[in-house]
Symmetry: none
Amino acid sequence: MNSIKLSKGELTKQRLLQSAAKEFAERGYHEAKISTIVSNVNLTQPSFYLYFKNKEAIFQELISHFRKQLIPFVERTYDIAKMPHDEVPQRIQIGLSHLFQFFASDPNLTKVAFYHSEQGEEFRLVMIEMMASIFKHYQEVGLIRSSLFIEVAAEGFIAMLDRFTYRIILTNERDIDTLAKQMSDTFFYGILAERKQN
Amino acid sequence: MNSIKLSKGELTKQRLLQSAAKEFAERGYHEAKISTIVSNVNLTQPSFYLYFKNKEAIFQELISHFRKQLIPFVERTYDIAKMPHDEVPQRIQIGLSHLFQFFASDPNLTKVAFYHSEQGEEFRLVMIEMMASIFKHYQEVGLIRSSLFIEVAAEGFIAMLDRFTYRIILTNERDIDTLAKQMSDTFFYGILAERKQN
Amino acid sequence: MNSIKLSKGELTKQRLLQSAAKEFAERGYHEAKISTIVSNVNLTQPSFYLYFKNKEAIFQELISHFRKQLIPFVERTYDIAKMPHDEVPQRIQIGLSHLFQFFASDPNLTKVAFYHSEQGEEFRLVMIEMMASIFKHYQEVGLIRSSLFIEVAAEGFIAMLDRFTYRIILTNERDIDTLAKQMSDTFFYGILAERKQN
Amino acid sequence: MNSIKLSKGELTKQRLLQSAAKEFAERGYHEAKISTIVSNVNLTQPSFYLYFKNKEAIFQELISHFRKQLIPFVERTYDIAKMPHDEVPQRIQIGLSHLFQFFASDPNLTKVAFYHSEQGEEFRLVMIEMMASIFKHYQEVGLIRSSLFIEVAAEGFIAMLDRFTYRIILTNERDIDTLAKQMSDTFFYGILAERKQN
DNA sequence: AATGAATGAGAATTCATTCAT
DNA sequence: AATGAATGAATTCTCATTCAT
């Protein structure tokens, strides 16, 4: 798909970014070695500096690329608040599934962004914000119970999302859609057999 | 309490461990510097090697200390399965609160163990195991709904626990008991206003 | 004057020499960067090597160009020895002024040649030689006092010339002719109010 | 003389400073290699950083050491202005000789300070200031001719001082006292046989 | 129980220079 | 006449670790 012709240099840069994502994902920022990044692409170290000012720069370029994809993704998700009410649970579940899919589509990048960058927390906060706003909306229209602590629920939701993302990235053991469904079910309905609100 | 007389050497070792926990917590394993660890305790670098074989050794000693406290703690929690049924939700909530308190009692150590060590995942898995076994028990006796996906629920519960632990450690902004209560509530009862199981 | 048509290549070469003079003058040989030299002329690095074998080569070409101008200049100055005696002081002063002007006409080149090249000392020695020979001549004909130490005087004269050249190059604050006059005056008549030779 | 017992570390530091002065004197700041500095003292590179923060730091320590010696030296020289008038020429000559001797006492350091540091010009300016103030004083009391251009003379004097210092440092060929005498003679009495002020 | 002095191994980065086009 | 892409060779600096005392 992305097969617009790239000049040799642009190609090399892409390959360096890929290699860096892998290296950063595996070892974290500080332990990642430029020598590894370049040798995985059959390049010498000085060539690296043809494309990036320094180690920090390639790292930030990765993060920035991730952000450029994540933020619009999140913003689109706000639209869930405009759906017909009876579809909402399913819509959230589908949204969740999409997020998982997005994260799984470039596991190295996701890992770097969430677990090896200082901006990781910022990304989480953005998502928590988003969930809180959705929850709040549906609480107002009565779809979500009034006794729910929105902030805690939103943060809890993202905590689960985060956790299962991590699992998906590390092991390909699970079917993403099923996972989204099961997590949603747990989160929507709670665990108790009969409701006896506190 | 821990005021059994320590020889000077033992005392120095304890101070090194404390200092190391702080340094590892703040910077992670690789970025942590022996020079910082010792200078915070007014010691020279060679002295460090009087007490620990190397950087890895003091790190493992911290982790091992954490494990020695965590595992029994977790094992005791299994007892929740023996409680009278109607107290269970509250019991879980109390257990959660205790865990939070334990983690908050030595934030540096907790941070190192969970977020800077390879064993962090192991600790999480132990806790997930525990929750799964508790949930399973109560599902069998009908306290927990039969449609719940135990594994997902257990992992989700620990994900939340993990997240809020992180928040507690970083910022002292919240009342732990309240947080435990709100998280439990969310988790037990879900978010929807009326139950319409999928 | 130099507007004989230059082929594009010759023009580029001239521009590189100019740019190099500036860069060498500002940073010295070792700190000067080829990358700066070429980028100031909107050229790429490989192009540099179309015109010069290496960094050393362009540097030597600058020095050699300077020498080609300086030596004849100096040789012409020997003619002062053939002047009518009563004009000599003024002639020397005029010669000095011309030298200053010559050096000021291409400050970058002068700076490189005198202060950033190993040949700088050679240039000074040539000028000292010249002054010594002039002084000697006039000492023989009685215009210069017999008690003067020719070598020291010649070297001292060039030392001053050197210093004021440096000032002129760095700051355009002074009127060159006036400076030449004041320096000559100092040098010809000494500083004391009444002569009481030692 | 300086044989107060130095600890091994202090000794090593001194030896590094010596070695650095030599290296900087021979090659200038940028071309000087830490590897050379340490290997001349049979040390490894990391040891260097035990004593100095970086290359810049050892350089500045040399310059600062030079300044600490030069400034008081210069200040003492102001006292020439308080001497009986008929001794002045000789006194200046003696002062000059002392300066030469001081510079010659640590040629490497002098070379670094004057010819390889950005502060070199500052040192020259201080000395020019000093000479100007002395000249001015003696012009006021009639010892120095009123037609002299003080600033130019002072700068010219230091230019000569500078030049002969350079010669002394590079080659041991001359007797310092004689040189001081000859330079003073040239400077005090000028070069012309009979005075015919312009 | 502790320190002064030193080092081996390695990392990022810079720069003149070349090759193929 | 000029460039895109790449590299070899250095160099500074950091850090865990050791040796001798």
